[in-house]
Structures are given as structure tokens and as C-alpha cells.
Symmetry: C2
Amino acid sequence: MSSVVKKTEGAGAPEAGASRQATAERIPAAQRRELILDAASGVFAERGYAGSTTDRVAKAAGISQPYVVRMFGTKETLFLEALDRAHGKLLGRFREVIAAYDAGELTEQLQQLDPAVGSGRPEQLKQLMAIAYADLVEDRGILMMLMQAFVSGHEPAIGARAREGFLSIYRLVRDEAGLSPEAARDFLAQGMLMNTLIGIRLPDLYEQDPTADELLECTLRSKLPIVLKASKAQLRAG
Amino acid sequence: MSSVVKKTEGAGAPEAGASRQATAERIPAAQRRELILDAASGVFAERGYAGSTTDRVAKAAGISQPYVVRMFGTKETLFLEALDRAHGKLLGRFREVIAAYDAGELTEQLQQLDPAVGSGRPEQLKQLMAIAYADLVEDRGILMMLMQAFVSGHEPAIGARAREGFLSIYRLVRDEAGLSPEAARDFLAQGMLMNTLIGIRLPDLYEQDPTADELLECTLRSKLPIVLKASKAQLRAG
DNA sequence: GGTTGTTGTAATCGAATGATTACTTAAATC
DNA sequence: GATTTAAGTAATCATTCGATTACAACAACC
């Protein structure tokens, strides 16, 4: 009864120089999940929720579009999982910094800080977390993934998660790092400015526009080389 | 030859209680343009470029979708014009504040400032412009329109305009208001934080989450009532 | 060696969407 | 009052996209 149609694609050379094989290598679903989330983070970070397609994520992950959908159910849950992951990485990174500081493991980094920074724990942690934040630009998409969620407040599920995520970051900075509300606010504000500069790809104008140079140097300070390197890498990746 | 099909929709009651007439009132194209841009600002501000449809803009403007497209050519040019308008309104508002300050017309507002603010022109202008910035939340969509552009760096035309727009704001704050690069950076950072809080609709959680209350009060200060009022109005409008 | 579960794809479907075409109707002009 | 111009819509088209279905192939197990 069933129509027997064997695949037989190209009896001669099944794999003649094509970089992408017709069917992806078989790996456990749990691993594939992580690869898809990696790909989704990059795509969503760049194009936002509405601007991204499951097919683009699939292509970036090297698999077919139906597999992406079946693994996550809907595009929305895929976005939410990628968002949770970005959020978790950020919180995790901050907690690492705090733990390392409290364990006295950051003495050499402390000496590289601007001497104008006070010697109190909150002041020093604020600086150290700012550096850690800039480092996250390298891990493609974490910061922009959050940023994209921040402008998606109109999507009920995404908006709710974005609100809760933002508040949890504020709480960490205030309660675990011990910053005052005002210091925490200033810390977040600098972070949002950094996100914005990256969002508009201002690093692409570096050394082409004096105003851009000044703003970038003033905002990023010692973190500028890291960000510039990440931006150039992103340019090459297209 | 032509098939004669008269419109004749409902020979009895052509307009029986429907709030939207079948065909819009005829007004000059220049006026219609402004109405469409108003509608587009609201729609794009809420849903971003990719998440908005020309049909939604048309509905918000009370006309048909083809008219929107014919008036602006493409969705992209419509977005760019709405963006330019938002950008121009922001620059214009800042310049008004600066001009009024230099003309000595803001003495009563100056006395309401936090006494901790210095008495220099840059310090005072910084505060006054921050208040003006918060006022713009009322004019539905200006700030979020800009914010949406800031996360659309990957769209070539929009990204370019967003970069140029952001730099022109920075230049105004630095050159016309006279802020130092660091002060200008801090001013912009506070603005980006405000945008973010509005983007995630944090005001909707006011008096429902103590953390949200603290962050909102700490960030917005005297501007909080204005923002809360605007948010509630937006909630009602859906 | 057959059975069963897991990993993956091709084909396709229906809805949404930006854009186009052809038309209608009200107003201005001669 | 006929003609022309401006303002606006209905209908529709070609794509795109998220999701579904049905199937293929490899691996593990009995």
C-alpha cells in the first residue's frame, strides 16, 4: 500500500564538496537543543523576536526548520528559553565575580581599576561587574538578546519574563553586591547605554567619526578593545 | 466593455451606527500624511519595525492599507519618516529648554530642582532636559520609537539613521548644552535606563512589586507621576 | 534479524503581509 | 456642466512563515 520511494539522492557522489550535508549528523536531542539555543540566541539578538524566523535559526543550527519547531513547540517558547539562558548567564557571571571578590581572588584585577574608585566593597564590585558585563559582548548575543526582550513589552509572555528578569538583575546588584539603590540605578543605566551603543553598532564607526570615538571611549574605557574586537568578528560573520 | 458595478452598499441606511465609516473623510494629502505618521509612531513604537504591519497602521489612522503604502512607497520609508519625526521632536524639545533657560524664562522651574544640583549652566540644563525627556513619554511613542530603532541596527537603512540620530543627540547635549563628555554620557545613560523601564512596562507593576517601586522612584524621581499617568492611559488604550 | 524508539527531513498547508492594479467618488477647474 | 485632478478603496497577487504531516534512516534492544 505504501508508496515505496527510496531516497537514493545521487548514486554517484553523495557528498561532493557541499559544506552542508543533506541530513545533519545524528546527535542526542539534549545536545541538539543546546546548539539550537546557541543559534537562536544569535538570530534573535540580531533581529528581534518578530524579525526572526524559525527557518533562519534552523539554518544557523545546521538542521531543518521542522526540527526546530518540533523541539520547542513554538517560536515563542524558543525565544523564551533563549532569553532565560541569556538571563541566567548574566546572573551567573555577576555571581562569579562577587564570589571571586569575596574569596580574595581578584587582587591583580583590583589593581588595574581606576584609582579614583573607592575602596569599599560595593564600589569595587560595581567596577568589576561592569568589566564582566563588557566581556559578555563577546559571547555573541547575550546582551542584545536581553535588549530585544526589553523592547518587546507588548508581547504578553515575553514582556512578563523581561520585567521579572530585569528586576532580578536589579535585586542581585542591590542585595548581593550591596549597592545602594542609586548606585544600582547608575550601574544599570551605564549597562543600558552600552547595550544601546552596541545595538546601533556604533563600534562600526570607530575611527570614522570623531563623535562616535569620543562617546565610545568615554563609555567603555578599558573595555573598548574587547568590544571593538567582538564587533569586528561580528562584521566578518555577517 | 467595463463591468458596471455600482457601489450601492445598503440602499437603506448607509451609515447605521458603525463608528468607522466605510470610506474615510476626504482631507488634503498633507494632513493625511501627518495622521498616518502619528498612527505609525504609535504602532512602530509598540511593536517595532518587523512586528508592525502596514494594515495595523492603516487601521489606527482610520484609512485603508493600500493608501498607506501608496503614500509612503514602502513600510521602510514610513518607518524612517516616523523615526525622523521622533528624532526631530526630541531635538526640538531639548533646544526649546536650552533657549528658554538662556532667556531666563525658567526661574520658577529652577527653584523646584533638587538643591544638590550645582548652579552651573550645564548642571542645571542637564536636570531641566531630563525633566523634558520624561515629559516626552506622554507624547505617545516618541521615546519608544527611538528605542525600537536602536535595536534595529541590522537593518541597513534604519541602522544608519539610528546611528546618526543618536550621535546628533549626543552632540546637542555636549555642544549646545555644554556638558562634558562624561556628563553627557551619564545623561544619555539615564535616558536609556528610562527607555528600558518604559519598554518593559515596569510602571504597570507600580504598587504591586516593592522592587519595581524602588527602582521606578529612584530613577524617575519627580517625573514618576507623569510617567505613571501616561502608562495608565496607554493601558486603557490597549 | 526483526522490532522499536530516536533523530531527522521533505512536502505542504493555511494564514498573514507588503505591494499592485483597477476602480470609485468627491472636489476643483474651465 | 463637462473635464480633470485628487483622495480613497476593493480585490487580489506573490511571498513568507509557523506549523503539521508523513515519511526516512539510523541505532538499540531482544
